[in-house]
Amino acid sequence: MRAGPYGTTDLPVLLPFRPGARGAAEPAPGLGAAWGVALALVFALSAGIAEAQSDAGRPSTVATILKWTPLLAQGFALNILISFLAMAIGTAAGTVLGLCQISLLPPVRTGSWFMTQFFRNSPWLVLLFYCMLLLPFEVNVGGHIVPLPDWFKATVGLALPVMANVSELVRGAIRSIPFGQWEAADALAFSRRQILWMIILPQCVKRMTPPWMNLYAILTVATPLCSIVGVNEAMTLTGDALAAEARNELLVPMYAYLLLWFFLYCYPISRATVALEKRFAVK
């Protein structure tokens, strides 16, 4: 009932997922595997149905999907790259913004609060469009022309909401550290900067890790949004492959296949998050 370690996060979806009900203590890894298998089955089944529907004389569904797999893998790698970069940029910027939110200077505090709220309240897709269409394709950095490829602009677009969420996470974590810690450190003659960096923030890191990992998972599943703005990631390439094949019985297996890829990548992350959260909760 009391606010837990993440009690101050305003982002419940960032809270780690706690599997199992009170009475249902399923062996978690088994369960995960089971669902991975289930999804794979859905995929296999849909491939089977597609197989049955496809006209004789055309290459089999499985063969077709295998044919496109290397291309999809390339696309997926871009999704992952985008997610890494957006997370890195968003975390760096968000940490600064979060610290600004607890600044002693009212203008800095208010400004960073507004910025955080603005980007938190904007739909991801709209921000993505915004960056995509309004950022220049190249920038002039001290006489050097640095190109900004599409996927990079999309990365910036995704980093903005990540930044806002990290900012809130940082602020929430700092606020969740008991006031006594500040007071005790004050009494030991630490300066404000020292208190923040040596006492408060190290404690925040631990509290923030699980929700931060969840944010990463959310970001990863958001990367297909880039396809809407024309980045050639897995989703776009799936669509292009379908256009090239022009066989709509392939739709189900192809999209199931794509879902499977994401599931296989994200599920372990969400398991690890839960495990981490449990470990921290014990201490």
Binding site: E183, A184, L188, A189, F190, Q203
Partner: protein, 253 residues
């Protein structure tokens, strides 16, 4: 209301508190408190909840700014806006009811942090002093335990060692045993008594009457922001005059 008849009242007091007022918003928490603590003296402050005891201690090391009056610690006026707070706090150690150890550092690191980072002392030297302090509070072997792995009483003793590591001239204790279970209260009180016996100047807020009687040179009773009665423990507990004090003592004892 100036205390008189003390044991060691020869030189200028180490802490001189005169007519201190403090409000939080509309609530007046301290309404003119005066008291002196001589070097090497141990005072205990008792009184009902909310009477301003904690606030008074916090004012002494400038965790809480005062509204009116004067607090002089070792010749320094605490109420002076140009006061170097960090300087003051090096001189005045404080231990809290909720220990407030830094949970991400081991016991010995908790003790070592402030001397290293605040006083910029040599790490090796600080470490050997920290080990001596840990031994002094009877926690040999627990140096590398994290606060979460220690009992309440053990944590509170680490907190005391942490304060002592700054070599303070004065120690403030704010109900340091209130959050402990009865069995560990004693460990902590013994530690504080030893300190007092070694001549440390102490201001102690406590609910443990037996302890106050035993260790204090002078006892103060506060109620609703004023000092209602004070005196050496023997007189204070035997023949309190003020009806509020008498009522409080009758309930507690």
């Amino acid at each position: 209301m100036s205390p008189a008849g003390h044991v060691t009242r020869t030189e200028a007091p180490l802490i001189h508190i005169a007519d201190v007022h403090k409000s939080f918003g509309k609530v007046e928490v301290l309404k003119g408190v005066s008291l002196d603590v001589a070097k090497g003296e141990v005072i205990c402050v008792i009184g009902p909840s909310g009477s301003g005891k904690s606030t008074l201690l916090r004012c002494i090391n400038a965790l809480v700014p005062i509204d009116r009056g004067s607090i002089v610690v070792d010749g320094q006026e605490v109420n002076d806006p140009r006061l170097d707070k960090l300087q003051l706090r090096r001189k005045v150690g404080m231990v809290f009811q909720q220990y407030n150890l830094f949970p991400h550092r081991t016991a010995i690191e908790n003790v070592m942090m402030a001397p290293i980072h605040v006083l910029k002392q040599d790490r090796r030297e600080v470490e050997s002093r920290a080990r001596r302090l840990i031994a002094k509070v009877r926690l040999e072997g627990k140096e590398d335990a994290y606060p979460g792995e220690l009992s309440g009483g053990q944590q509170q003793r680490v907190a005391i060692a942490r304060s002592l590591a700054m070599n303070p001239e004065i120690m403030l204790f704010d109900e340091v045993t209130a959050a402990l279970d009865p069995e560990t209260v004693k460990e902590v009180l013994v530690t504080i008594r030893e300190l007092a016996e070694e001549g440390m100047t102490c201001a102690i807020v406590t609910h443990e009457m037996g302890f106050a009687r035993e260790v204090a040179d002078h006892v103060y009773f506060t109620d609703r922001g004023v000092i209602v009665e004070h005196g050496p423990p023997r007189e204070f507990f035997a023949q309190a005059k003020d009806p509020r004090t008498r009522q409080f003592l009758s309930q507690i004892l």
